[in-house]
Each structure stands twice: as structure tokens, then as C-alpha cells.
């Protein structure tokens, strides 16, 4: 089938046979020319020898050649088997096949490609060995049929033989590998401040995508210049692609490749470089701002916490209160002696030993004001303040103020007194100031002049045991009255003697203290009881003119003794809260240095109380009360009883005391206002 190459051996055989044939011909010619050619026999012989010699020389040469070849080993051999490596079509219209030659056997070898189409047996040789380069075969458009199987074989031929490669079947449709995309353009664009890369390209110019002959899909890969990992993006059939999420200021490499829907991927296009400009990462700046702000707040909170660490600790972990039982000794408990512990708990002074609760109630106290205090007192008496204070102050069990707060003792104030009181308020105020300290307030019942001086009793407890009191009380009242008078009419210093009781370290409530404490809470003018007293005194001035001049205070007496059986001078208050009373020395009429007073006119019995809360007094001769010598120690225990007795509210009724004296406390019942 194939024209075989002539081998040297064949040639040799031919030459030898030609020699023989020539030789035979020669002999034939010689036989025909024997009659006339005896003389050319030697010439013929010479010619024959010459030709033979040539032939022999060739044979010897060839033999030598063969010998030499054999002597040097297998240097020449038939060619090795070539192999078709690949066939590719760039656009499904032409294709190229490449082969790999085998060993050439040391001899010049030629290669030929033969192909056969699917449906025919015609063998064709490759039309173009050069276009595609070495060891290749290029099939142009005219020779290319798609959807047709090609059977391709490569044959290697050299002097010693030929070798066939394995046949390969291809269909052009399936071996398409396009060229890389062309005109790859990479630009940086911006989308609302965020940059992105737009990559655009064109299909390889040979591929006919426009007509639909070939359909390509594309793929892009991107990476930063200094990195090694590529980021792949499949772009489908579009020719443009956007890449987002770029690093600010980075330099990127972009490559594109394509593939037909049934073929191979093309090579990557050459790299395109692009540099992304620096852009301010707005998102990051917001986070930075937030972080700084939070750090700032955190610092402030820490500082605050540190400042208030102790109080916070107390709030979160309140300290466990330790046992604070009075008399409870932790040490004893720890020692384990329960008897001692519990015995210690037993308070010795509980319940209070005083058998009489009245001891605890101090309704009133006669406060003894020492000399220096008296001076202060006279100098600064504030009527307002004293009475106000009395009203508002908390009841203190040990001071004479407590009684002031008792509303049962509050006296009703008459209306008509107010204006005049105010006028005199200022004057009296300064006298009254220190009375406040003594916790005594003054109120004056609007009674007839006679009554006011002493018979009016604001203190039920005082007044109930009145019969026992000496007239010295009265005298003390007078003295107080005088005190007021003297205050108003004389310099204050002159009256200082009234109130002193030297030698006694106790505080005693002065006369005024007896009967002028109490406030009517309805009438604020009551704050000027002193003014009332003043007015009242003035009203009685014609009665008491004689008392004006009185200035002295008997040394041991509060007042010149007038006949007053109701009052007892409080000597002192002892430790046990007992008021020690002592009759005023002048009671029995022993007056020392006291000017006379129209006593008879000072006290009057209360006849009754009319509807206007006015005490109706009746003049009568004072009766002799009990013995002035009787000095009884009146304990405070009596007071509560008296208080209780006299504190019963009576509305609209007259409660006459034993002696006919109205207990004003009972009269001035809780207001019905």
C-alpha cells in the first residue's frame, strides 16, 4: 500500500544482478562474434576484467560499510513510535494536531500525518505541516468538518523502516480551546465613596460569538500583588464584571479566561495591574469615635465608683449589725458563761423602781434661776419667743417646759386684750426672753384685776393642794406682779432682787411662773402674756400703786407674806424628782421689808364663769388658811393625782375648787372652737 523505500541491500542485489546480467549479455555477444574476433579476445577479456573490478569494488565497499556498522553496535534502527499529543481548535473552524516524535533511530526520519474521516475510508495526508510549527499539522477551514470523527495517525519513517503511532479519534467540536480574551480593561470606579474595579474584555477575535457559532463563558481572577491566593469570579457570558471589597491603597492583578460550553479553558490573559486609591474608611472612623467615647465614659464611671466605693460597698453588702443589747457582753458570751450573760441582760432599773408613774411625768417645775441668769433674764426677755418656744418645744421631762405643752392647761385669751398687749409687747419682750430658757410661758387670763394676781391657777396640780400652800405663794405672785410693774416702770435692774434666793442652789419658778404659763393656741397674741400682765397690772395700778415701790426680795422669801394659804414655795427639786416645798416665810404675816400690799384685794374668789369665759370674782375676806409653819414636802407624786383629778374636761361647767377658787385648768377645757 505504501511505497516502500529502497534499501541499500536491495540496491546491492540489484547491482549484483545487473552485473550478472551484464555478464551474461556479454557472453552472448561474444558467442556471436567468434569468427572474426580472435584477435579481440584479449580486448574483451580486458574490458570484462575492468567492469568486474568496478563491481567488485562496490561490493567490497558496501560489505565494509556493513561490517563497520556491525562493528560499532546498533546505531541505526527504525524510528521510534511517535505519539499524537494533542489536537486543538481555537474557534471550531480550524484545528491543529501536534505529535511527539519517538527516537529517530539515528537516521534521518520523516513524519507524516494521515487521517481518515468517519464515514469514508479515504486516507488523506496532512495538508499543512508548517503553519503550526514543528511536528504539527494544521487543518484549515476547508479541511475541517465538525461533528465528524477524525481518525488520525502519525507515521515516522527512516532508512530502516517506518513506525505507526496509535490512532486517535477526535471530533473538532470537543477539542475547542479558545484563545484568551482580549482587550482586558481594568478601571477603578466609585460607588458612593466605596471604590470598586470594573473589568471589561473582548472575546478572542477568532471566536465567532456574534453569530452564535461558539458560545463562550468567562472567568476572572484577582489578587493583590504581594499575595499568593487568587480570588475567582465566574462571569458567565457577560463581558464586564465588577469587583468590590477592595483594600484601600492596594495594587491588584486581574486576569480573564474563557471556555466554550463544551471545550477547554483558555489560557489566562496577561495580567492587568490596577491600583486602588486610598480612601477613608468611614465605617472605621465611626467605630473609633464610639470606642473613644465608651472609653471616656468607662473612665468616668471607674472614677465615680472609686470615689463612692465605700458607700457602694455598704449598699451592696450591708454590714452585719452586731448585737447591741444593752448589758449584753459579747465577751461573756464567748467565754460561755451563760448565767452571767443573761444576768447582765437583766436590767436592774427595769421596770422602773419608782412606784409612782407620776414621778416620770413632770408637768411643771419651779425653776430656780440663779442670780446671773436673772440678770440675763431681765435684760433680755422676749415675750414672743418665750411663749412661742414654749408652745413649740418638745416636752422635756426634766424641765418645767413640759407642762407648758399640755393643752389642758392652755388658757383662753380674751379678745379685748390684744391691742394693748401688742403695744406693750415690745417692752415686755425683753423681759421675757430668759423666761423661755426656764421653759415657762406666760398667759394671763383675762379676769378682773383682783382675780388675776394670784388666784388664778394654771396648774391643776399646783392648785389642788392649794390649801396647804402658804400665802407666800400669793406673795410670790404679788412679787411677780410687782416684778412686772417694776419692770415696766423701773429699770430692770431694780427688780433683780425679787427673784433671787441666794443660798439656794435650786431653781425655782417664780411667781409668774405659777400662774402665767399656758398659752392659748387660738390667739397668737397670747405670746405676749407679759403684756397682758402689764396691762392688767396697769389696770390695777390704782390698787397696786403701793406695790410699785417694792423692790426688794426677801432673802429667803419670794414675796412679802400675805395671807395666802394656797401657795407653797418650792424650795428645790431633789434628785429623786421630788419637789420640796416650803412655806413662804412671810406667810404668817411676817413681812420683811415688803411694803404693804392691799392683800385683801389681791385675791378673790371666783364666783363663776360666764359664757364669755370670764371669771366672775367675788370679793370676800380671805380666810385664814392653814398654818404657815406647816412645811410639807410635797412630792411630785401628788401632782399626777391632782392633775388627773383636775384635768377632766368640763365643758360649760363651773368647777369650783375646794376653796371656791376656780381651777382655771378645768375651765379652760379643750377648745370647742
Amino acid at each position: 500500500m505504501y511505497p516502500g523505500p529502497t534499501s541499500p541491500v536491495n540496491r546491492l542485489h540489484k547491482s549484483v544482478s545487473s552485473v550478472r546480467s551484464s555478464g551474461s549479455r556479454q557472453w552472448t555477444q561474444h558467442g556471436q562474434n567468434t569468427e572474426g574476433e580472435t584477435e579481440s579476445f584479449c580486448q574483451l577479456k580486458a574490458r570484462l576484467c575492468g567492469a568486474t573490478m568496478k563491481k567488485v569494488l562496490e561490493v567490497i565497499l558496501l560489505l565494509l560499510l556493513l561490517v563497520v556498522t556491525h562493528a560499532k553496535g546498533t546505531r541505526y534502527s527504525p524510528p521510534g513510535k511517535p505519539a499524537l499529543t494533542r489536537c486543538r481548535s481555537p474557534e471550531k473552524e480550524t484545528f491543529t494536531c501536534w505529535w511527539e516524535p519517538g527516537s529517530d533511530g539515528g537516521l534521518p526520519t520523516t513524519y507524516a500525518l494521515y487521517y481518515r474521516k468517519e464515514s469514508s475510508d479515504t486516507v488523506f495526508e496532512c495538508p499543512d505541516y508548517r503553519t503550526a510549527g514543528e511536528n504539527s499539522c494544521f487543518f484549515n477551514k476547508n479541511d475541517t468538518s465538525i461533528w465528524v470523527n477524525y481518525n488520525i495517525t502519525v507515521v515516522a519513517t527512516n532508512a530502516l523502516g517506518r513506525t505507526f503511532s496509535d490512532p486517535v479519534d477526535i471530533d473538532v467540536v470537543y477539542i475547542v480551546k479558545p484563545n484568551p480574551p482580549e482587550q482586558v480593561a481594568v478601571t477603578v470606579m466609585e460607588d458612593k465613596g466605596w471604590p470598586f474595579i470594573r473589568v471589561s474584555w473582548e472575546p478572542p477575535h477568532k471566536a465567532d460569538t456574534r453569530s452564535g457559532w461558539i458560545t463562550l463563558i468567562y472567568e476572572i481572577r484577582v489578587k493583590l500583588e504581594e499575595e499568593n491566593d487568587w480570588e475567582m469570579h465566574l462571569a458567565g457570558q457577560q463581558k464586564m464584571f465588577n469587583i468590590f471589597s477592595l483594600r484601600s491603597g492596594g495594587k491588584y492583578l486581574v486576569q480573564v479566561r474563557c471556555k466554550p460550553d463544551h471545550g477547554y479553558w483558555s489560557e489566562w490573559s496577561p495580567s492587568s495591574y490596577v491600583k486602588v486609591p486610598d480612601y477613608f474608611h468611614r465605617e472605621k472612623s465611626v467605630w473609633i469615635l464610639i470606642t473613644v467615647f465608651c472609653a471616656f465614659i468607662f473612665l468616668i464611671l471607674t472614677w465615680l465608683l472609686h470615689m463612692n466605693s465605700r458607700s457602694l460597698k455598704h449598699f451592696l453588702l450591708p454590714p452585719v449589725p452586731g448585737p447591741k443589747i444593752k448589758g449584753f457582753d459579747k465577751q461573756l458570751l464567748k467565754n460561755g458563761k451563760s448565767e452571767e450573760v443573761f444576768s447582765a441582760l437583766v436590767a436592774t432599773d427595769f421596770p422602773p423602781k419608782s412606784s409612782n408613774y407620776e414621778d416620770l411625768l413632770v408637768e411643771y417645775l419651779e425653776v430656780y434661776i440663779p442670780e446671773e441668769q436673772e440678770l440675763m433674764l431681765e435684760k433680755s426677755m422676749d415675750l414672743d419667743v418665750g411663749c412661742l418656744k414654749c408652745e413649740g418645744s418638745a416636752s422635756d421631762s426634766d424641765s418645767g417646759r413640759g407642762s407648758c405643752d399640755s393643752h389642758t392647761l392652755l388658757m383662753h385669751k380674751c379678745d379685748g386684750v390684744k391691742e394693748e398687749e401688742e403695744r406693750q409687747a415690745k417692752e415686755a419682750r425683753r423681759h421675757q426672753k430668759d423666761w423661755k430658757e426656764e421653759a415657762s410661758t406666760y398667759a394671763h387670763v383675762d379676769v378682773s384685776p383682783d382675780m388675776s394676781s394670784g388666784r388664778v391657777k394654771t396648774w391643776p396640780s399646783v392648785f389642788s393642794p392649794l390649801p396647804r400652800y402658804t400665802s407666800n405663794q400669793q406673795g410670790s405672785l404679788e412679787m411677780a406682779k410687782q416684778h412686772y410693774l417694776s419692770d415696766s416702770l423701773f429699770p430692770t435692774s431694780s427688780t433683780s432682787s425679787y427673784h433671787t434666793q441666794p443660798g439656794h442652789g435650786t431653781t425655782e419658778a417664780h411667781g409668774p411662773g405659777y400662774w402665767e404659763c399656758g398659752l392659748s393656741n387660738k390667739q397668737p397674741h397670747l405670746l405676749h402674756p407679759q403684756a397682758q400682765a402689764q396691762r392688767q397690772l396697769q389696770a390695777r395700778s390704782d390698787d397696786n400703786i403701793s406695790s410699785i415701790g417694792r423692790k426688794q426680795t426677801p432673802a429667803g422669801l419670794h414675796s412679802p407674806a400675805r395671807r395666802s394659804t394656797e401657795y407653797v414655795e418650792v424650795e428645790r427639786v431633789n434628785e429623786e424628782d421630788m419637789v420640796l416645798l416650803q412655806p413662804v416665810s412671810g406667810r404668817c404675816g411676817d413681812v420683811e421689808g415688803y411694803p404693804e400690799m392691799p392683800y385683801g384685794e389681791d385675791y378673790s374668789k371666783v364666783k363663776g364663769v360666764d359664757m364669755d369665759n370670764m371669771l366672775l370674782l367675788q370679793r370676800e375676806v380671805r380666810e385664814e388658811t392653814e398654818n404657815c409653819d406647816t412645811s410639807s414636802t410635797v412630792t411630785t407624786t401628788q401632782k399626777p393625782a391632782a392633775c388627773i383629778h383636775s384635768a377632766m374636761p368640763v365643758e360649760g361647767e363651773m368647777v369650783l375648787g375646794v376653796n371656791g377658787y376656780v381651777d382655771t385648768a378645768t375651765v379652760c377645757t379643750p377648745p370647742t372652737y
Partner: protein, 227 residues
């Protein structure tokens, strides 16, 4: 005529996918019936889409079958040069230059020939595939789908021919006897190879259809730009 009327309903195949606009208006009754119909361009687009889909699914089916049933040495190389196909006798142009030279009419008819020649083998393939052991459902579904879509494609091409060429054609019926007969139980490998060949040939022909239709479309738009 009744058959033809009945077939009009079947001709609605592209609109089964989209809308139910009739492809064309019947004028057998002689009246002017005004009804909306799809334009030629859109119809061609839809036909091309169909062909693309069929090709893709047939490619998947072929590779699936190859993986499961074909021993490795016998697998087609990447060059995919397979066995002779049943349609080799068809005068289908086989190069671009040839294709450029033939007319629209011939293009369409080539496509139609291809489609019609594959309808029956695919039906046959459906039955044979069921005999295999362990055939995956996906493969069966795909081949079934392809078979159905091919019939739709045929109908679409017929309509297209009518529109473009004003020729009335008949669609294939199933009355024809196929070339494939189930004759005995030959060696299993032979069966397998035959089916394999069938699938790969069909894949190739599907590609042919797609290309031909696309070229036709290009010609419709601009005859000069289609090289």
C-alpha cells in the same frame, strides 16, 4: 383537519413555559380571527433556548451514564469521538463554511430532520434504561425530560417553518416502527455500548441543532455580520 385542529393545541409548547397565547390563528373557518400570536423573533428565541437546554441535559445524562456503566478503557476519550451515529446518513452540513452556504430553508429543514430522527430512539432509550441495575433516578428523569422536550422542540420548529417558510408540515407520529427492536438478550456489554453510543450521538446532534438555530437567528438579524 380534526387532527390538525387538535395539534394546534399541542403547538402551544413554548407558552406552556410562559403564557398561553396561541401561536397562530386558525383561519380554516375562513373567517378573520384576530388573536394575538407570538412574533417570529420571540419564537426563534424560545426555540433556541429549548435547544440549549436539551443539549445541556443530554450532556449531563451522557456523562452520568458513562460514569456508571461504562468501563474505563471503553470510555470515550476527551475528544469524544464516538461510534457511528444513526444520523450519520443525514445530509447535515458539517462545517461552518458549508452552513453559511445553505439557505434558511435548508437550515430549518435540517433541524427538523434531526429532531424528528431522534424522537423515537429516545423513547426507546427510556425503556432500555429501566432494565439496568441500579440506574439512578436522576438519569431516568433526565432522559425522560429530554424526550419530552424534544417533542416540544419539534412542534416549535414546525411552527417556525410555517411562519418563516409558509410550509405546512406534519409532526411525527408514533406509528412508525423504530429501528430498534428488542431482539433477544445479547451480551450485556453490547447493550450498554449501544446505549452509550446512542446517548453520545444524541448529545452531538443536540449541539448541532443548537448551532444551526443560532446561525439562523444571526442571519435573521444581520446577514452580513454572520461571517
Amino acid at each position: 383537519m380534526n387532527v390538525k385542529q387538535g395539534q394546534w393545541a399541542i403547538l402551544l409548547w413554548p407558552y406552556l413555559l410562559t403564557t398561553s397565547i396561541p401561536l397562530d390563528c386558525r383561519d380554516e373557518q375562513g373567517g378573520l380571527s384576530r388573536c394575538p400570536s407570538i412574533s417570529q423573533e420571540k419564537l426563534l428565541d424560545r426555540v433556541i433556548q429549548h435547544a440549549e437546554l436539551i443539549y445541556r441535559v443530554s450532556e449531563e445524562s451522557c456523562s452520568l451514564f458513562e460514569e456508571m456503566f461504562i468501563p474505563f478503557p471503553l470510555q470515550l476519550q476527551r475528544n469524544q469521538a464516538g461510534y457511528p451515529c444513526i444520523t450519520k446518513a443525514l445530509p447535515i452540513p458539517s462545517s461552518k463554511s458549508e452552513i453559511q452556504q445553505i439557505s434558511d430553508k435548508w437550515l430549518l429543514h435540517s433541524v427538523l430532520m434531526l429532531v424528528q430522527s431522534w424522537i423515537e430512539p429516545l423513547v426507546y432509550l427510556q425503556t432500555t434504561l429501566n432494565r439496568y441495575d441500579g440506574v439512578p433516578d436522576m438519569l431516568l428523569n433526565k432522559t425522560k425530560w429530554v424526550s419530552d422536550k424534544l417533542m416540544s422542540l419539534e412542534q416549535g420548529v414546525v411552527v417556525l417553518i410555517k411562519k418563516m417558510l409558509d410550509e405546512g408540515l406534519m409532526t411525527t407520529t408514533y406509528s412508525e416502527q423504530g429501528l430498534f427492536q428488542d431482539d433477544g438478550q445479547p451480551e450485556m456489554l453490547e447493550y450498554v455500548m449501544r446505549d452509550y453510543t446512542l446517548l453520545s450521538c444524541f448529545k452531538k446532534d443536540a449541539h448541532k441543532m443548537e448551532i444551526l438555530l443560532k446561525l439562523l437567528k444571526c442571519r435573521q438579524n444581520d446577514i452580513h455580520s454572520c461571517a
